[in-house]
Symmetry: C2
Subunit: 436 residues, 2 copies
């Protein structure tokens, strides 16, 4: 045995991904239909468009050189200009209306890297982040590795409950803990995992709340708009960022992974100006710039309009997959008392709630039955942080219609129903044996 490694306290706070177990199950089980992974539809990738864009760029020595050389830490200026324009157009403003310039835009290795960098720049061990309950579980792990304490804020059909958020902030202030509150994290469009969207009228109020409680330092709102462009019903809703007219309180982050291709692993963010240098200085140490080729590809896809044409097609693909999933769930679970599910207007996820007393987590009868029926989901408990009593809701699941084919989706839901039926039978059996 060699002498032991001596790992940093950060490393000791950093665990394996909680979904490794589910990925392993998926690999080990042939024929399994995965409604678990947040992967995206593969039949709809813009592969022809990417081939064409790359061929054009490589054929011209000037553009080939530009794409194959190192880029900059902050990211390709042309692409930064396009995404700034894109977000502002969606919000019906000019960048200057909300005090934004090209210098406030940062490109990263997926939006995940920005989530990480922000934690690194802001969090001291013991600091507090307020997040929707449930929320994007990968970011919980990230925040844990920064040493943050995540406090969950209840949601209703309009997303994060601002009344509950306000109560929590008041409680923290009375407990002398407001000093530790650094971030309010919200996935405000078709949230991962619940599919819920923050209601239009809560958006300016959320900014006001952050301002009101910024008594010791600025409490920032991290608006993770990863799924904004995957809308299947109704009109786009203004971002929270739109209401941060001085560009001081809201970080807007989003990604090309979901509306285009995760293989390009490129995200983009609009940052309060005084946060740009701290974030880019750290990113300079991380990698001094993400893949420049990927940024050039995306820039051309946006420039030629291929991106927007692709998005129209992609929305149709996902709309019909979502419908396939909702139809299957309604058919299969209609007669199950206490089983509920959200009807998302976009994104990739349907959130199902089983009657309490139906644990869904790792090792639970439901997950075991589901795997042996041949379907995989993500347990809802992964998205929750324990409350004061150390408890998390354990009777929810996340289903993704991202990667499976419509026919697989329907079959996957049927398998889930069979798994649930086995549980009902064995419960009934247990009840009956108690009675006899």
């Amino acid at each position: 045995m060699p002498p032991a490694l001596s790992l940093s306290s950060r490393s000791l706070r950093t665990a394996d991904s909680p979904i490794s177990y589910f990925i392993q199950k998926a690999i080990e089980t042939p024929g399994l239909i995965s409604l678990a992974a947040g992967l995206v539809d593969e039949s709809a990738f813009p592969s022809a468009e990417i081939a064409q864009v790359v061929a054009e760029m490589m054929a011209n020595p000037a553009t080939a050189k530009a794409a194959l050389q190192y880029g900059s830490t902050q990211g390709l200026p042309a692409l930064r200009a396009r995404v700034l324009d894109r977000v502002c157009t969606a919000d019906g403003v000019k960048p200057s209306d909300i005090n934004l310039t090209l210098g406030d835009v940062v490109l990263t290795t997926g939006s995940q890297q920005m989530l990480y960098l922000l934690g690194e720049v802001l969090i001291e061990p013991g600091d507090i982040v307020l997040a929707e309950a449930p929320s994007y579980f990968v970011y919980h792990d990230c925040l844990k590795s920064h040493g943050a304490k995540v406090i969950g804020v209840p949601m209703d059909d309009g997303g994060m409950c601002l009344k509950s958020l306000e109560k929590e902030l008041i409680r923290l202030e009375l407990a002398g803990e407001l000093k530790k509150v650094k971030l309010i994290y919200t996935v405000d469009y078709f949230q991962n995992p619940t599919g819920l969207t923050l209601a239009r009228d809560r958006r300016p109020k959320l900014v006001e709340l952050a301002k009101r409680f910024s008594k010791h330092h600025r409490i920032l709102i991290l608006e993770d708009a990863a799924y904004r462009e995957l809308r299947y019903d109704g009109d786009d809703i203004t971002s929270i960022k739109r209401f941060d007219t001085t560009n001081e309180y809201v970080i807007y982050t989003t990604t090309f992974s979901k509306p285009c291709s995760p293989g390009l692993k490129t995200g983009y963010s609009l940052l309060p100006n005084d946060l740009v240098a701290p974030v880019c200085n750290l990113k300079g140490n991380h990698d001094f710039g993400s893949s420049n080729l990927a940024q050039h590809i995306l820039n051309r896809l946006l420039e030629t309009g291929a991106f927007d044409r692709h998005l129209v097609r992609l929305r149709e693909v996902y709309r019909s997959k979502r419908d396939a999933m909702l139809t299957a769930i309604a058919t299969e679970f209609a007669s199950c008392p206490g089983v509920r599910w959200n009807v998302p207007a976009g994104g990739l996820y349907v959130w199902m709630t089983f009657p309490s007393g139906t644990p869904t987590g790792k090792g639970s009868p439901l997950v075991e039955a589901a795997v042996s029926e041949g379907v995989l989901y993500i347990p809802g408990n992964l998205g929750h942080v324990p409350n004061e009593q150390g408890k998390v809701p354990d009777h929810e699941i996340r289903l993704s219609f991202g990667v499976a084919e419509p026919s697989e989706i329907a079959e996957g839901v049927r398998r889930l129903r069979r798994a649930y039926a086995e549980l009902e039978t064995s419960k009934r059996g247990a009840r009956e044996s108690v009675l006899t």
Copy 2:
């Protein structure tokens, strides 16, 4: 004024890149020849090969899907297998000879990301890293942001002086500080910035030293082989990793940025097996995987042999650029007493030493004269860490022949000579005015 941001202690330790000033100069000064940047030759990018590989991958639905979907945190298995084979072949061993498997290979966003991750996984503020003096200055900043103290180890023509390293380790042990020593960092092939290579016979000895002083915990060697494949004279030298036959003490890291294209921003590393999980867990939080498309492109370039054919051409391009630089320096500086330079057998850099009393750093007369003559270099002091007296050598410079054309290289060196001549004249003037 909004309330202040509250930044983490890590963020407060993280500064702007010290070369921002030089990049800014380069942008502001039209006609400037930059011998500063570590950028790579643009005329030699394998753009046709990349276009072809992408066209082929995108034309086949199965390969297009694989390349455009999310990859894995650890990186594309096929590419990991190829690079493992590549390094072991260069070292004349089979992976099993030195206890390596596919599971010990990790792909990152450039090798820079691995350098960062290793610091993050190993360093607690106050810990010590031993590094060549001078060394890769970007990594110094990284280590500073982790809170590490970097101690410089003198170099001679054979690279890091192991006698000095041993003395330093003994000194640290006597001072009770061995507990804090986590890493020995070496850029052991055509080092950035000096161009020096660690001598063949020092390599096994370095591993022995790390073992001998691993009294409290394992002291790891970080072998940064970024420039190994850019050799222009002589035969390749066995890696340090080759002598770590149990795969416990040496991390081998390198990159496709230098021998292929930095726009793909892909690095690869061989890690002691028990370091893989801590590094990948953290990388899972950073981005859960670097650009998958870039990894697929590189995999195909290696598979088709395009990569190796390109490398042969590239070495010729760089060899002639290096020769252009060395010829120009020999011509221009032959008659300058006390001016010396290294003759690198590979890499991208020539290291020049001026007589002491010729400061070369930011704001110095030489840098000012050079910029007004129209040439830019990197001051040597950036690569050094202050000694006990807070001093760093300040009369050295790094010249890169990476990006400039051969004719520009010669002209750049002539401009540097003129800048130096102005200094000599004004010094002589100063001496004469003292005499009169």
